[in-house]
Symmetry: D2
Subunit: 471 residues, 4 copies
């Protein structure tokens, strides 16, 4: 259920292009293709070599940008950003890219990730008189760059990032340079490619597909790619570390037609499904996915188990706009707006329902209820990831432990709560086995609590997290 | 490709509810669930027993209606209507339901279908001094009801419909009665059900699923259901005729989770796919659907042929909003906004692509080009309906014969045009065989030109059609 | 207080232009200049000789029309209409011009006025089967034209108007003719002029000033001006009648920079003020107008009385948009949004406040309270028209007699209610004396109840009036 | 012509209220009443004692704030700001109040004025690593406050302002204190009053009139008013200086119903007019103002000269919204949208036209042309201020010297350019004489170039000014 409000968010999309005659328009398309990674706000900063041009707005890419706006974003360089969806029009201060003026001139930054020492660094910066106009850790990074005693943009960025800890895929631009960075542990994806000779960067390859760019490669963890008029140079200024790529990108976030971390998202998901078929096998008449994120896993499950696959739940394509609820309570109403079971298909059948993950369990419970109302004899829930027991601090806005059902209930208790006839998760071991030797390169903190970076200001982060959730 | 602009339209959705405390809100939901049948405009008329309340607007249901508007649509009766998508804000005059005042009071009509003698009757009405404010044939029906010398709403409606020829599923409402009608040949669907004791009508059962209503039955061709405070009565005032249900509802229009004409849309589509697998069998590695309308047929095809099914084309969920195209031409751009192939899945494979129909052939050609660019070794196009060779005059806005590729090219010529390695359509015979004895109850005019109703004013209709297409 | 919601409305503006290359754009400007006569909705119909183009919308002219809309209103003929301000988005059906198709083709009508036999004729039309989609009497006129057995547009219009009684200034247009009509009693204004050789019509001359057209003359009561490719011809098809021009146009409606009924609005208002100075003379320090409609009369008053004039009440220019009221009650809040007294000017002074009319008395009471709060020692209210005691049935939406304060209270009672130190109205005799010999050409029904046209269906009208007010 | 785009801008309005249950709503009203001082953007920050709430938006107050937004601005303290009108949606970063977080917590600032050393201080701040997200000098002030080594808000503000030079009226707020400041020279106005026991601040008293607050007094130049839960305290932390109050507030900016700098704006304007009547006396038939800013001066002129006053130019009340210009050029089109002369009044007359100032001369020329077209025999232009020869650097965005007609032409040359029969300005001497002994307390730099504060970074300011004008 890719667009569900009940799942994780706080993911973002970034896009950049260096020296292309239609830089802003291509960036617009690159953000459009990555709309699934952030629906709250969108922004583009372009540079024409001397002046920068910026437009930020709340809402979807196609609503934020109109032709006359794109036409004003002059220049052959641009970076763009999509932010996740929350409410509150006054949050425009948090829209990205962040554009600042400082001693060395103008700077624009687009950031996907989360610093774990943002509060600490911010407090230090405030102590020496810095002011903040947003709650973004991107603003912290911009301060570090501005305060650096280095002389070039490149060394300022390196200097700044030496003080930053956590997850970040960044695009930084001034009037004639662009720098793309993936943090030393490589939490978030970042890919590079070519379009008509121009260098392009994106969070996911699906952005390249739409604009017709050629995918070249993933940035490596810890890599800085510096693009100037002299060409593209790769740097590794940080000491090498063990990679900690986010496995949840494969489970839920990325578009199935993207390649990230060197793999096809669709294929990985399908393989998760195949592996899942081996967990608690069950006799059933049909495997149905929770569309759309559950589809590849369900196909893999069906293939491996031999149980026929079918699209038993139909997704409504007009979701996501304002909606008026009736006063008289309709059973499973919220979920019904998004999904509808095909009774003729399900009636009298033993059904395996495959979804990618369970967060609070409430949506899952409604889906099972709906499938049962459509006449299913048995409903077996299968989840193509391990139980999510720990919050993420590297760029995904998971609920607190208190809200994560797997953090508070055993699998059997969860099964009872969601009213399934059986429930099985993909074990962490089987999940990682899909990646073979590269299994060690992934972060699994949300499943096992093994946080790869010490949580400098975790208390603060957590307090803020609570706070943002309370709101 | 359910929301594609390149396919058929002119279909509409209707919904009605009699004596329910939240009549307008439930109607809003009923229209919301049927959004796929019309995106141009939406409207609701409610009645509180003495006054009628109306709201019409251009755009999607969720944009046309806001809470404060729904709250003003007082009363326990309501009918609603969604209209197909075209451009032109000044078209509000053509939005439905149509509300009129006449000698017997107030009347509201929601209509799905097309009268084949509308121009003729309209000319006759104009000859005796009638005026028209829209181009809707619904306005013709309202004139006929108003001019009838009968005394009751019921007999006026029957009288009026005796003069109407063509396809119509209608809901008519005054201050305390509701009449639902399906034309004698039953071209368009119309279902009835119950919600909290109140009688409800809809074009498709998916509307009932969302509001939690119980489906009772399809109206029969030629049936008038008259709902008053005395209860629900069924009438058959017209001489019985051979049914001519629209087979295209199964092929393309209806939502897969709906039941219409007594059958599951999903199941019929899947059976089309199974039958299609027998036409021109081909050795291939994978069957991929053009989402979403091609999915069930592709699954049926895969099942029957034994070739593995996969979701090789990913649909972008944010389509349908305003969009800024770049000046530099990107190959297959329009289609890329909607669909993206998964290269890792397709590369080096022989692929069968299943779609529901081909209209002009241009979109199909782009999809094949895109699949080939993603590395497919062979692309075999399979269409789960016969070649569309004739325009429809019973409620679907097909292009003219000049534009229908199957009307101007042989299958082999079409194959060359769309650049497929092979192309096969489901034959009409096999398509109809799915319905068994009921095969005779369907209209197949768009495939064979056997129009079941004499075209009274076809010249005029066609001229208008040309005209509307030119615009 | 020209834009006040508490005063009269139901006035409209019309504009037409025949054979000008920028017909729609000029019509837009003509409506813009006449915005004060109607703020609810606006519309333009243009004709390019074969096709008509229409755009209607709720709101102000500058909001309803955008450049891209004007550009689609092709052709060298156009008529336009502004309608008065009420609430209710669903009222678009009542927006004008009304465009219809009938036996003789296409027709567009823009109407300013009110038929007194609209309900009766409508009932007769409904009896013979006519339907109505709006509550406009313009639709009644369109039916009469369509039902006429005459052959030409001109004779159809004459035929139709023989059956219409009441107040109407009309513009009727088909593909190559335009007809302008003022009813036999000439209730509402209608002027004609020339722009670059093209014939133009407007309700008021201020429209001509903006577009740079030359004013030629008022249409005469009962005159039909028929414009065709052969030129402009004047006709008087109705038996001559005594004129009954609306004196309230001078008192309140028309813009002071317009000429109507052969006179300058500003000059007439100033003369009203001079005459008013002779009614109940008072010793005072200052004459202040209620802006803007009271300004000329106050200047006349000051001139005649010798009491100094000053702008003691300042008008807020940003009124008319949505507004959020505080919960804590602020004294005279509603009026304060529009007007603010200058304390330094008023404090300790005996003040004469001049306004054009009193309707319910509540606004007047608030203004006096406000002036008193600003320190006035005495407040003498002077009204530049006689007491409004009777509702209008010829195009102005006055409240019912029950609501008109002058219909229910003596002048002394009114004075007490509004808390003025003294109150005087301009007598009807003095008011009419301004017009000299032409005094007999004016309607004074709202002051004396001498309705010049028998009220055919007054009961119905009144019932509707009540009804519309209740809403 | 108060809303004209062709005159000065860059003025702003500020409003603040301390401890009132409807703080945000009252602030909204206070901004609404001061809309004339800034139409580009509007914003409110409220505090509920622990959290701050902010809403900023582009456009008019009544469009930026809706009921649901006001309801979210919790708390009993609030400050608000209106900014002048320019184009460019991306300018939201420049909307105020500015809200920041820094070492001592949260801070909000609303600023009316202009620092003359903003660029210099900004450069110094950037040199030590500060970043800027806007081009506002308000951001400079916020940095100075944050960087101060003082401990309390009050001493931080005093410390910061010791480094600021130029014109500023400020409101500063944290979670439980509010500080109002007028710069030592008192360039811009700032008044204080009481509403239901709560302390209120505004730029002009008209804000107090609307909300029903009692005006207490102007803040004195160099005064800081510190409001806490302990009460209101006045401070004068800066060395006393000669006052330099902006005389242009009286000439053009302030609303005539306001009191600023201890005087009634209306009365001062009228006195300007009286004095103006003594400059180059002329025989004429009529004095007409350019509404609305020219009205009081014209009345004073008429009174003194004995020439009758009349409203010969009528202002269109619907100006200020988007507008579609015709292609065919209409004479004086831009001005005609705003003003229309009354021909019947003007024809054949010798007319004195009174306006408050001339900037570029182009609008003035059009007005004279229009008055002449309306038949005036002679047109004598009288300006109720001295020739504007120098740009302002203290908060008013005058054009550069190159654009100021009085800077480049003699009075006689100007007369020829604007095609007046005669032209006279009010001399600076006579203008100042109106203020008696207080004449020395005003800044007259725009008339004589005697800039009261050394222009620290004038070059930079001017460059920016050029730049902003070029755009």
């Amino acid at each position: 259920m890719e667009t569900s409000e009940s799942k994780f968010h706080d993911e973002c999309a970034i896009f950049g292009i260096y020296r292309h005659p239609e830089a802003a328009n291509v960036t617009y398309l690159g953000l459009y293709a990555q709309q699934h990674r952030g629906q709250e706000s969108s922004g583009i900063v372009s540079s024409d070599g001397s002046d920068h041009h910026i437009h930020l707005g709340m809402g979807l890419v196609a609503d934020v940008f109109k032709r006359e706006i794109i036409e004003k974003l002059h220049g052959n360089m641009a970076i763009g950003h999509n932010r996740y969806s929350t409410t509150g029009a006054s949050k425009l201060m948090n829209a990205q890219p962040l554009a600042i003026e400082y001693s060395a001139g103008y700077l624009a930054i687009a950031h996907n990730g989360n610093l774990v020492n943002a509060s600490t660094v911010r407090a230090e910066l405030e102590d020496i008189g810095s002011i903040f106009r947003s709650t973004m850790d991107t603003e912290v990074i911009s301060h570090l760059i501005a305060k650096s005693s280095e002389n070039t943009l490149f060394s300022r960025v390196v200097d700044a990032l030496h003080q930053a800890r956590g997850a970040y895929s960044l695009l930084v631009m001034n009037e004639d340079e662009m720098i793309a960075v993936r943090d030393p542990k490589g939490f978030r994806p970042l890919v590079m490619g070519k379009l008509d000779g121009a260098t392009v960067f994106a969070s996911e390859t699906c952005a390249f597909d739409l604009i017709g760019a050629t995918f070249e490669r993933d940035l490596k963890p810890g890599e800085l790619v510096h693009v100037t008029s002299d060409g593209v140079r790769s740097h590794f200024p940080f000491p090498p570390k063990k990679s900690c790529q986010c496995v949840f990108e494969f489970i839920y976030f990325a578009r199935p037609d993207s390649n990230i971390f060197g793999r096809s998202v669709h294929e990985v998901r399908k393989n998760f499904g195949k592996a899942l078929a081996l967990e608690l096998p069950v006799e059933a008449d049909m495997v149905i996915p929770v569309p759309d994120s559950g589809v590849p896993a369900a196909m893999g499950y069906a293939e491996k188990s031999g149980i026929p696959f079918d699209m038993g739940l139909i997704r409504n394509h007009y979701i996501g706009r304002t909606f008026i609820e009736p006063e008289s309570r309709i059973r499973h109403f919220g979920v019904k707006l998004k999904l509808n079971p095909i009774r003729s298909l399900i009636e009298g059948k033993k059904v395996v329902v495959v979804d990618d993950s369970i967060v609070r369990g409430t949506t899952c419970k409604k889906i099972i209820g709906m499938v049962r109302s459509a006449g299913a004899k048995e409903v077996h829930m299968r989840i193509s990831s391990p139980p999510t027991t720990h919050p993420c601090f590297y760029g995904i806005d998971t609920p607190t432990k208190e809200e994560l059902i797997a953090s508070n209930m055993t699998v059997e208790e969860t099964r009872k709560f969601i009213e399934a006839d059986s429930l099985a998760y993909l074990t962490q071991e089987k999940m990682l086995s899909i990646f073979g030797d590269e299994a060690v390169d992934f972060c699994t903190a949300c499943f096992d609590g093994n946080y790869p970076i010490k949580r400098f200001d975790m208390d603060i982060v957590q307090a803020e997290l609570f706070d943002s959730i309370r709101k």
